[in-house]
């Protein structure tokens, strides 16, 4: 007996399956062929991928093409403490990582033993070489985050000029800030589609705008001159136990800044670990009363007006002179001095008496012509203009004080730019730090040219000032410590009392030396300022620093000594005004 097959059941199953497949087929057809705008948009949004393509910031070089700043991709190194504890590899990992990263193994071990943690940072900004060495250890519990960082391979060298870039990649000081727009470049843009695993489908890349790397900036600074300058300042800080020191080396003939250094300093690679004072560029950001070095500008104005000749004699009142109800004193008492000796001995009284002949208006006009009371326009942010009040606000004493460097505020850059006038036939050039800017395509976008700002004095006065200033560094002059073999130095010392608690303090000084080398045909101008040195005077604290910087600079730039028959040697002979 055979059982009758239930055909209706088979039919039902077939019907159900047919119904399901038909339904699925219709749904599939509907999804693919129907309007479904929302659904299409959703799929497109999942597949489409748009991103800005990051671009490296432009590089900064010195005048010789030595790299000073660049963008570098580094990695933050992390570990997985939970996995390390499970595997029990904490000790060996700590020892080996410690060797590579120069971190005490105990510190790493303590990090790896934190309970319940999946990620702990071991080191940040680790370079590729070290990452490669870590990878060779084969620890799967170590992983990385990639990050692009601005790096300064020379570390603190030129830090005040270069500035730094913050963690958002924005220039925040120095050249980095001033030329942020030029350095940052233009990010690229990419519109494309990705597959289910997030990989880009190259064939569907619809828009690809390549990024444009930032411009490269070549500075006028010389890495070697800068190094010698900074090293000399470090020694001066230590010898004089000073609060600070700063110096500038300028090319007289072009206005280019060859070195610009300030102490205290900072490392731009770790800029956030330093105070505002350490990050301040005092050469342009610190305004101070210059004292005696300012006499150079006043006496140049007096000689340019032909009110006095270098051999004329001034009564220096034996060191104390009452004028307008106040006494003016000389550091050393002198009876009578020639104009040339007023400069050599740095007589306050002699200079003030001559300034009275010049008058307020003319002195003010000359000082403005030398660039005091206004920014020089150097390519750095936060440059101070200094202080030079207008004549209407001068008191009856002001003329006799301004001419000797009080009641005025200057920056070191203004001073060095002023003395460069003497080496440049009376022309004042714009000091500059940018030599050229080169685009990422190699095209030169900007090339610096010397720019004349003013001509405060005649050429003959400029030459005469060089001769007179040479006497300051001869035996018996206040700046004799600035001399060095083979070259003649024209310069001037300055020792200005600082204002402490509202009054001038005889115990706290700003010591400075301002000079030109070689005096006969000046090529470089240098200023050295030492803030509150123990040794107090400019001749002792600043002049030796000047000598050290100048001696190295003339050799590095291969400036030959002037032949002996052309050298300025006075032997008590006073030069006359060249007509």
């Amino acid at each position: 007996m055979t059982e009758q097959r239930p055909w209706w059941r088979v039919g039902l199953v077939v019907l159900v399956f047919a119904g399901v497949w038909t339904g699925l087929g219709m749904r599939l057809a509907y999804l693919h062929l129907g309007e479904n705008r929302d659904l299409h948009a959703k799929v497109a949004s999942i597949r489409s991928f748009e991103k800005d393509v990051s671009v490296a910031r432009g590089k900064i070089y010195d005048r010789e093409g030595n790299l000073l700043a660049l963008d570098l991709r580094t990695r933050h190194v992390s570990v997985n403490p939970t996995a390390i504890q499970e595997k029990g590899v904490g000790r060996s990992l700590a020892v080996r990582l410690g060797q590579i990263l120069d971190i005490p193994p105990a510190t790493i071990y303590a990090t790896t033993q934190k309970p319940g943690r999946k990620q702990e940072y071991i080191a940040k900004f680790v370079h590729d070489d070290k990452v490669k060495a870590i990878n060779e250890l084969g620890f799967s519990e170590v992983f990385y985050d990639e990050i692009s960082t601005r790096y300064y391979p020379q570390e603190s060298l030129m830090s005040h000029i270069l500035g730094y870039v913050n963690y958002e990649g924005v220039g925040s000081a120095g050249i980095e800030l001033k030329y942020n727009k030029s350095l940052r470049g233009v990010p690229g843009y990419r519109s494309t589609q990705v597959d289910g695993e997030g990989r880009e489908i190259l064939a569907l890349r619809s828009l690809d705008i390549a990024p444009v790397e930032g411009d490269s900036i070549y500075l006028t600074l010389d890495q070697n001159i800068q190094y010698f300058t900074e090293a000399a300042l470090d020694r001066a800080m230590a010898t004089n136990r000073a609060l600070g020191a700063w110096a500038i080396v300028q090319d007289v003939k072009t206005g280019e800044i060859l070195a610009m250094a300030s102490r205290p300093t900072f490392n731009p690679n770790q800029y956030n670990q330093y105070s505002d004072v350490e990050r301040r560029n005092s050469t342009i950001g610190y305004v101070y009363e210059p004292g005696s070095i300012f006499k150079v500008a006043s006496i140049a104005a007096i000689l340019n007006e032909r009110l006095f000749r270098p051999a004329d004699v001034i009564d220096c009142e034996n060191g104390a002179w009452f004028y307008s109800g106040r006494v003016l004193r000389d550091y050393h008492a002198y009876d009578r001095l020639t104009v040339a000796d007023v400069l050599k001995k740095s007589s306050n009284i002699g200079t003030a008496k001559m300034a009275l002949e010049l008058g307020e208006d003319r002195l003010y006009r000359y000082l403005r012509g030398f660039g005091f009371g206004e920014r020089t326009g150097i390519e750095l942010p936060a440059e101070e203009a200094g202080i030079l009040h207008g004549v209407p606000s001068w008191s009856s004493l002001s003329l006799t004080r301004v001419c000797i460097g009080y009641e005025v505020g200057v920056t070191a850059l203004q001073m060095v730019n002023m003395i460069s006038v003497f080496g440049n036939h009376g022309y004042r050039l714009k000091p500059h730090l940018i030599k050229r800017i080169v685009g990422s395509d190699g095209m030169v976008k900007y090339e610096a040219q010397p720019e004349v700002l003013s001509r405060p004095i005649r050429g003959d006065t400029a030459r005469l000032m060089c001769k007179l200033l040479t006497r300051v560094t001869e035996p018996g002059g206040t700046g004799r410590r600035a001399r060095f073999d083979g070259y003649t130095v024209a310069g001037k010392t300055g020792t200005a009392e600082k204002i402490i608690d509202g009054t001038y303090s005889s115990k706290h000084n700003m010591a400075s030396f301002l000079g030109l080398v070689p005096a006969e045909d000046p090529r470089i101008a240098i200023i050295v300022v030492v803030d509150d040195p123990e040794t107090r005077t400019g001749g002792v604290a600043a002049a030796p620093v000047f000598r050290e910087i100048a001696e190295n600079t003339v050799k590095l730039l291969d400036i030959p000594p002037i032949p002996e028959d052309l050298t300025y040697v006075f032997n008590e002979e006073i030069p006359d005004v060249e007509q």
Binding site: H127, L202, Y227
Partner: protein, 126 residues
């Protein structure tokens, strides 16, 4: 007999005609063209994918090389900094001094070649 033969001939002809109508040459050509186009499309797609992978791989390579170049530039710059050179000199006990002025020979361009050319009657182009 003759009629039968002729009828048979007609029948045969009719069958042949019908077979041609079922799979016409134009349709076959269309199918062939569609197949060729499809295969071409697939080949092009595959080629594009392949090129895409190559571009992607080369982009990664370029990126890696640029990264290595930057790293080497950084290291070179660090190594050649005056500070590092001074440290190395100290480490190896090497003391360097500037040459004295007597030791320096400065060569300056002279007009000797002009004088020589004039003396010999030659043409000078500079």
């Amino acid at each position: 007999m003759t009629r039968k033969r002729s009828r048979n001939r007609v029948k045969t002809r009719t069958r042949k005609t019908m077979a041609v109508k079922v799979f016409p040459g134009a349709f076959a050509s269309l199918l062939l063209l569609a197949t060729v186009l499809s295969l071409g499309y697939l080949w092009l797609g595959s080629r594009c994918d392949n090129l895409g992978r190559q571009i992607s791989s080369l982009e990664k390579q370029l990126d890696q090389k640029q990264r290595e170049v930057l790293n080497e530039k950084f290291k070179w710059s660090n190594m050649t900094s005056t500070l590092q050179i001074e440290k190395l000199l100290q480490k190896h006990g090497i003391e360097m001094t500037w040459p004295s002025e007597e030791s320096v020979v400065r060569l300056r361009r002279t007009d000797t070649h002009l004088q020589l050319a004039q003396a010999t009657g030659g043409v000078v182009n500079d």
